[in-house]
């Protein structure tokens, strides 16, 4: 009874969250019709990259010509700019004659600005009721907070890459440092303020958090069914002793699974059974494992839920499940074909030395390669199919992927009635906390203007050339993702790519986001530390007596990176330059 109550409690919580996400993300309709008439002075504030500046304070002052306001004087009116940078400030009536009116615009991390209202403009306001002021461009201010936030972010990337500390701990440390500097440093110097807690929370993308959480619950149900073991053994049967065919089918299984589950889970489940098949065939297990993990990193790019980086990109740029399928899947298949040919060629000697599987080992493998919970698998299959339909067609009714994932997870919990404690344990809370802390740290560098500086520099380097911008984004992402953690990297690159998409002619098609998606995920094949799935695979292989060294992975993985990213680049050129 208690168990059932907990299950219903969890289901209600998930349903409530799904409803909340759906409700709060509905497009505003008919709201503008009821808005009161515009106040007198209307304008907007942007930064030098053309991005709107929200949360800026706009103050209306009055004074004698040439005078500056007294420190204790009250402004005539005060408003804050909206997230889109717009403001509307009312003028008091009647306006005293012979005074000068001006607007002062203040915002942390920007230089203060002032707009003097000339008498003609004031007269126009009084006559016509309102006036639209020219757009104001606020220059960035590089202060101590800028350098501290930059240092914290760079330090976080470095510590994740070289230390033994858990990623979540590193991200939490980064977020805590940001708050410590803002709250403890601010009383000492205004230049030490980065942002406050409320502003930090605005940078957390809850769509990403709930999508990841929902998918974790779905995965937890599927992984217990024995599906992966069954699929791997089916691959062995299908290959009929041909090692190259076995390799190809296992790569396909790992890849397709990664398109819907996260790569780490896929490899956690695929690696032990692949090792057993390889050992039984007298084949070096690395011959199967390294291509499998590379396929997982490549094919995962094809869907919105296939990689955490795609989830980040999709949510930031409003790229739907369908968009990913339409614009990336053909390129991913092309890259996968290249990867299969490369893998078969690269491991041709090992693949030629397989032996017959001994009957005792074959029997043991077959015994284990069974679907352990067919009922659960059937139900998960139905729910999975419905979720897929909602992912594909949900955009027509503005259904967010996170809502679909939450509804799917809830439906599975109610239908299957698993051990709810186990299901809650299956949600990797550390990953969710990692994402939240990461969003805060990336928000900090966005707030202080580092992202604007990077965007500005890249924008000047690539100029107006879409081809050059595409090549830069895809290859820089690929190479950097091979050496730094790709999730923080992608999170930081999103606003940069957003800016470039706004200024480079032809980039409004969101092509640069697809370039980032391909580069950041396929770049993981470059080195052993390039993707978590690589490390997990290496960990299991090492325990089977087949260590994957850094050099070994680099030798096999880097050419794969070059081949797959080159093929994906060709597809993106065809899709967005030729077919567009």
């Amino acid at each position: 009874m208690k168990q059932r109550l907990r299950l219903w409690g969890l289901a209600l919580l998930l349903c409530g969250t799904a409803f909340f996400l759906f409700y709060t993300h509905r497009p505003a309709v008919a709201q503008e019709e009821n808005d009161p008439p515009l106040p007198l002075l209307v304008g907007s504030v942007r930064d030098r990259q053309g991005q709107p500046v929200g949360r800026a304070t706009v103050l209306l002052w009055q004074g004698a010509p040439g005078a500056t306001p007294e420190a204790e004087a009250e402004p005539l009116a005060s408003v804050t700019t909206q997230p889109d940078g717009r403001y509307a400030i009312p003028l008091p009536e009647p306006l005293p004659a012979g005074e000068v009116y001006y607007l002062a615009i203040e915002r942390a991390h920007f230089e203060d600005a002032r707009i003097t209202l000339d008498p003609d403009m004031v007269a126009q306001v009084e006559e016509e009721g309102s006036v639209v002021l020219p757009e104001l461009v606020l220059p960035r201010e590089v202060n101590l907070a800028f350098w501290i936030a930059t240092l914290i972010f760079a330090g976080m990337l470095a510590v994740v890459a070289i230390s033994d500390l858990h990623n979540t701990l590193v991200a939490l440390l980064g977020a805590s440092l940001v708050f410590a500097v803002s709250y403890l440093g601010h009383p000492l110097s205004e230049d030490l303020f980065i942002f406050d807690f409320d502003t930090a929370l605005e940078y957390i993308d809850w769509n990403v958090i709930f999508l990841v959480m929902g998918m974790m619950i779905v995965i937890a149900v599927v992984e217990e069914t024995g599906l992966f073991q069954w699929l791997a053994f089916a691959a062995y049967r299908l290959s009929r002793g041909k090692a190259w065919l076995l390799l190809t089918v296992l790569m396909l299984v790992a890849g397709v699974a990664s398109a819907f589950l996260d790569n780490v889970t896929t490899m956690l489940l695929m690696t032990p059974i692949s090792v057993q098949i390889a050992l039984a065939l007298n084949l070096n297990p690395l011959t199967l494992l390294v291509p499998e993990v590379m396929a997982s990193n490549v094919i995962g790019v094809s869907t919105l839920v296939g990689t955490p980086t795609n989830i980040l990109i999709g949510s930031f740029a409003s790229i739907s499940f369908n968009d990913f399928l339409r614009n990336l899947t053909p390129g991913v298949l092309l890259a996968f074909a290249g990867l299969v040919i490369y893998s078969v060629y690269s491991y041709r000697r090992d693949l030629g030395t397989t032996g017959e599987m001994s009957p005792a080992l074959l029997e043991r493998l077959e015994e284990r390669a069974q679907i352990t919970r067919p009922g659960h698998l059937r139900k998960a299959g139905w729910i999975g199919a419905i979720m897929l339909l909602l992912f594909v067609f949900g955009e027509r009714i503005h259904l967010l992927p996170s809502v679909t994932a939450l509804m799917g997870a809830t439906a599975l919990l109610i239908w299957i009635r698993p051990d709810v404690e186990k299901m809650i344990d299956a949600v990797d809370w550390t990953t969710l906390v990692f994402f939240m802390a990461l969003f805060i740290v990336v928000g900090a560098i966005q707030e202080v203007g580092l992202i604007s500086v990077i965007a500005d520099v890249i924008g000047r380097l690539v100029g107006d050339s879409l081809v050059l911008t595409m090549v830069t984004v895809i290859w820089v992402s690929a190479v950097l993702s091979a050496v730094v953690a790709n999730i923080p990297f992608t999170a930081a690159m999103l606003p940069v790519v957003g800016y470039l998409s706004g200024i480079v002619p032809g980039a409004h098609s969101k092509v640069l986001f697809y370039c980032l998606s391909v580069g950041s995920a396929m770049g993981g094949n470059g080195t052993l530390i390039g993707a978590s799935a690589n490390l997990v695979t290496a960990g299991i292989a090492e325990r089977a007596g087949y260590p994957i060294t850094y050099t070994y992975f680099l030798r096999k993985g880097f050419p794969a990176l070059v081949i797959t990213v080159a093929l994906a680049t060709i597809w993106l050129f065809i899709r967005f330059l030729v077919l567009a």
Binding site: H166, L268, P272, Q276, L279, A360, V427, Y546
Partner: protein, 143 residues
Amino acid sequence: MSGVLCAIRGGPGSHPTIRKAINLAESKKLPLYFLYVFNLDFMRHTSHSRADTITADMKQMGEFILLMAESLAAEQGVNAEGIMRQGQVAEEICELGKELAADYVILGRPKEERNVFTQDRMSELEKTIEESTGADVILVGEG
């Protein structure tokens, strides 16, 4: 109880160790035990929530590796028992060595120094096992 305890990791590096253990058990007419130890330390950077599932899969992989070693022993007419433990390698070897009152503990000596298996650590491990189990420790070089 007494016998030969052979700790294996799988892979070609374990073959000489397994053969040495089989030959020793055969010549001394002692029971042979293969030990496979696994842990999930490699998951420290990733999702711990998958621990239950991966533990089951790692056990299956360990059983398979043990089965292969048992098959090799059976080919030479030696009966061997495979034992699997989860934990730290050194601790589990000592623990099982004591439980079995093993006469011999056979370990592979990695050809190259890697991870924790430096020559110093191997000598230290050898000494620890000898002191805690009273067994003779034989280190076998990788093939």
